[in-house]
Symmetry: C2
Subunit: 363 residues, 2 copies
């Protein structure tokens, strides 16, 4: 019953958009359906607009992975406007945030505007309900044209989004501002579990800070390198692949599945760099020895597999775990998931390492 | 009705504790009521155990400030145990987290253990309901004695807390590990609004990193320097006062109230240092000119007041806003509240500045 009401509500929003040719004027704002603008961050182009991957084409992948790929993690709307105010109306599923997340990250929106050649924070849309919300992200801006990126919810399914600008302003699609395509396959850490807002998930930060298009294929708790998932990943047309998928696989699974994942990608993409990343230390293992031992085993097995593979597979690189979270043990929200401080430290190591590899390959 | 059920539930937990002499054995764990251990962080000693201040003694302060002082922000339980596992059962009010907070920060617990002379993260208790919860913060530790600090919820009222250790382990009160008393009066930023867990609010980090006892008098949205609040603060027996209360006061209120706050404290404490801190930049004002202008006016008026006061009041210091959040605009969760990255940057400036002042005063 609740589900039915939810979908009726979503339909009402969509019908409202359709009957007004995807735009309307209410409260001096003019709303445009995000489907008329440019969506970036989708590893495959088809399927429901706000889903990362249309898994109908991959029936064999685990059901949980299919569900997680409906989350809009890493998706962002690229547009330009001359409005001095930007608002949004959006609907998500009725799910509620986990206890290690803010609602803004889980089901909110995050706006960046380019200034002096750099993407800069402009405002968030704070959800007040778990389904449909309306919020002004920024107001009182200077006149003139603005290049914008609006990041979608990290951990929820986005059902609809309309972007509001002033009645006398215009808004239009802008091309993807980032070059090339680099997939990051990984756990909740890639997915963005404890980033405090959508634009602070680490693939999104990497894109803004390097100019490359990093795509978020984080599948919370389920980056287990299954053969069916490896096949799906190999279907994606990428210039590089980053594999940050150690945290969710048992040490035995790491040994069983790493070679297949790497070889499946390499078979379809003979020349692209593949960058393997060890798991960050689990701060929950700072005193809990069993947690610490498990991560050590995962990382040791992963390194062993990558070392072996490097004898046959060219252009395969490894970024090791040391130093990824700093040394004060303050970089996580819950002992597992980096907070924004932890992500910042990860990037201080991962960003230059990835840039160096891309440069080596002329990307 | 819901309120009645909530209090019945809390009473049930308390009665359970009382009838078993504040300890009991369930599921191989032995629970001790936190009221038998040492609570640190209370600016005044009396009143309900888990309230920061017993405002019954200050009837004139605003009702909202009274309510906010029931939140357990900055309170922590100091104890020692030889258990290899530490758990908690705790109840809070039925309130729910704001959209810029994690539930762990809002109503969860955060455990630190001293190792090699430093306080290190050990584990959190993740709430799964909004009232009473039970959680194992850490397990599988090495044998031996451990000095512990368990931080209480930042933004909720703590109604009860029992700490669980293994049945054959012991637990006992430990003295406050921090020296002197330094009050930080401030806004939601001091209160810890967007820290990802209780131990990452900035007063708590300052205590662990310096060894001084910083007390959290953050009153979210309501640090408005009212004369009645100034009187209450002056009643607190402190070795230093930090005033980080600019963000909640209008520019006019800053001008009207700063001098009274400083002089009221100075009258009761002739020789202690008073450290005034300008407001961090509001990242929401990165593009919104009206937000930026308001903060500029607040800070200009505050500096003017402090400059004037310094002509008559000795030992009054000012920490300016420049550089407090870095320069990439990524240090907040919502444009107002620092995320853990923003807090880290604040501390890189505030920590050495405060330490230098304390040293000058021989504290």
């Amino acid at each position: 019953m609740i589900r039915a009401i939810r979908y009726l509500l979503a339909c009402w929003v969509l019908i409202g958009a359709v009957t007004s040719s995807f735009s309307e004027t209410v409260d001096t704002l003019h709303y445009t359906d995000a489907r008329q603008l440019t969506l970036i961050g989708k590893p495959l182009p088809d399927g429901p607009f706000f889903h990362r991957v249309d898994t109908a084409g991959f029936p064999e992948i685990p059901a949980t992975v299919k569900r997680l790929l409906t989350h809009s993690a890493g998706l962002a709307v690229s547009f330009r406007t001359n409005s001095t105010k930007i608002a949004a109306r959006w609907c998500t599923s009725a799910r509620k945030p986990g206890n290690n997340m803010t609602a803004i990250a889980f089901e909110g929106l995050d706006l960046y505007i380019k200034r002096d050649g750099q993407w800069q924070y402009a405002g968030v849309a704070r959800p007040t309900t778990n389904e449909c919300n309306e919020y002004t992200l920024v107001a009182n801006m200077e006149a003139g044209d603005k290049e914008c990126l609006m990041y979608l919810p990290l951990y929820d399914e986005t059902i609809s989004l309309q972007i509001g600008v002033e009645a006398d302003a215009d808004i239009s699609a802008k091309a993807n501002p980032f070059k090339k395509n680099i997939l990051i396959y990984g756990s909740s850490i890639v997915h963005g579990a404890s980033a405090s807002r959508p634009g602070l998930a680490y693939p999104a930060r990497l894109s803004r800070e390097t100019g490359y298009h990093f795509l978020n294929l984080g599948v919370s708790g389920n980056a287990k390198m299954e053969p069916e998932v490896a096949d799906m990943i190999a279907h994606m047309n990428m210039d590089a692949f980053i594999l940050d998928c150690v945290p969710n696989s048992s040490p035995a699974q790491v040994t069983e599945r790493t070679a297949n994942l790497v070889k499946t990608i390499r078979a379809k993409h003979p020349n692209v760099p593949i960058i393997a990343v060890q798991s960050i230390v689990r701060e929950g293992g700072n005193f809990d020895r069993s947690i610490a031992e498990r991560v050590d085993a995962q990382n040791a097995n992963f390194k062993h597999e990558i070392d072996q593979l490097q004898q046959d597979v060219d252009d395969l690189h490894l970024i090791t775990a040391d130093g990824l979270l700093g040394d004060d043990h303050e970089g996580t929200t819950d002992g597992t998931h980096p907070n924004d401080l932890g992500f910042d430290r990860m990037l201080q190591k991962i960003r230059p390492a990835v840039l160096k590899i891309l440069k080596q390959h002329g990307i």
